[in-house]
Symmetry: C2
Amino acid sequence: MARPRYRRRPEDRPGEITAAAFHVFAEKGYAAARVEEVARRAGVSKGLLYLYFRTKEELFKAVIRSVVVPRIDALSASIEASELSAEDFLRGPFLEFVKELPGSPVAVVIRLMIAEGPRHPDLVRFYWDNVASRGLATIRGLVERGVANGEFRRTRVTELPHLVITPVLFAVIFRLLFEKEPLDTDALIESHLEMLLAHMKGVSA
Amino acid sequence: MARPRYRRRPEDRPGEITAAAFHVFAEKGYAAARVEEVARRAGVSKGLLYLYFRTKEELFKAVIRSVVVPRIDALSASIEASELSAEDFLRGPFLEFVKELPGSPVAVVIRLMIAEGPRHPDLVRFYWDNVASRGLATIRGLVERGVANGEFRRTRVTELPHLVITPVLFAVIFRLLFEKEPLDTDALIESHLEMLLAHMKGVSA
DNA sequence: AGGCTTGCTGACCGATGAGTCAGCAAGTAT
DNA sequence: ATACTTGCTGACTCATCGGTCAGCAAGCCT
């Protein structure tokens, strides 16, 4: 008895295709990724792919969104829900979240954004509006909460929340580029946080 | 009188071609860059380009090397030549050097390395051996000089000199990606250095 | 001037890959 | 069973681009 050559599953297809596309884009980059390989990995014909995504670029955008959107929601939620002091939040949930990033799909997205950003300005815009600026605003809010509490002094960190996450981006990129060179990214991020907290608290430890 | 259609200038060609290639790779990335466009910008035929560079990939490697090698030499030289204390060197020549990076050709090279690194492992190796690891070793040496001097306490920064340059990489990438969003990269780098020095000196300023 | 070397040109080739479409077959209604 | 809808296939087209090569001409001899 011949099994059917395929099953109709219109509900599942888009998700399967973006998942496959994520892997292909991750290892090849945008330009070198082949639409046909995406289709093959998704167990689908190239023609079908084009029924769900109008062009390769549309597919690319869908992939970025599919990785990024759920993360944002998770982060926002965890902050709202927390009753911790600023320092405890930074040492706890924040640190945990941020230590995951270098090994997560977000790292891949960051690489793709750096590599392809210049030719996909609307994607950069989307990323800025939904990830980068919101993340920075969140950190700034946290720092200001600490200042209001009396936990922290007022420092440049309020105006430049970027100072909090520089080692995270460094770790992401270092791992991406120099996989072979060992770097204890956890220690990097933790040491930086120690330094930062000491600075904001105004003690010399 | 008909001007000659071209002049023979075999000495100048390689440099002219890599310079043109730098611009094209910078704005298109590797895969989307067209060899013919490089040739056109260099005022040369595609055929000639292939007399000097065997393949597109060779050309790419030559471009990276041409930007990176002179910088290395300049940095090494300036460190050797200096008699300053560790702190003064960091506040002076080091800071100056590092503030230039986000707007320099090195920024472009960093983008290209991130984007194309995975498919050019020997280039990554070259970059690691000649730039990244040497730069890190230099910073570590500087910090240790400060410790030996009694200027600095012994901290994690000795083992993780990466902590010194995280804001530089951040600034490079931020500028590359979000050109439209203002960020005072000088202030970012300076503030980080203040924090770092306070930490290493063990004071709370 | 005539001949020789070689820097240089640009038309060409072959491969590759994005996107299309005519038609097939899985599922559904009758 | 039969007819119908539509998810799905894969062979095809057409443009693009890396790389080649036969030959042209600039500059240098003599």
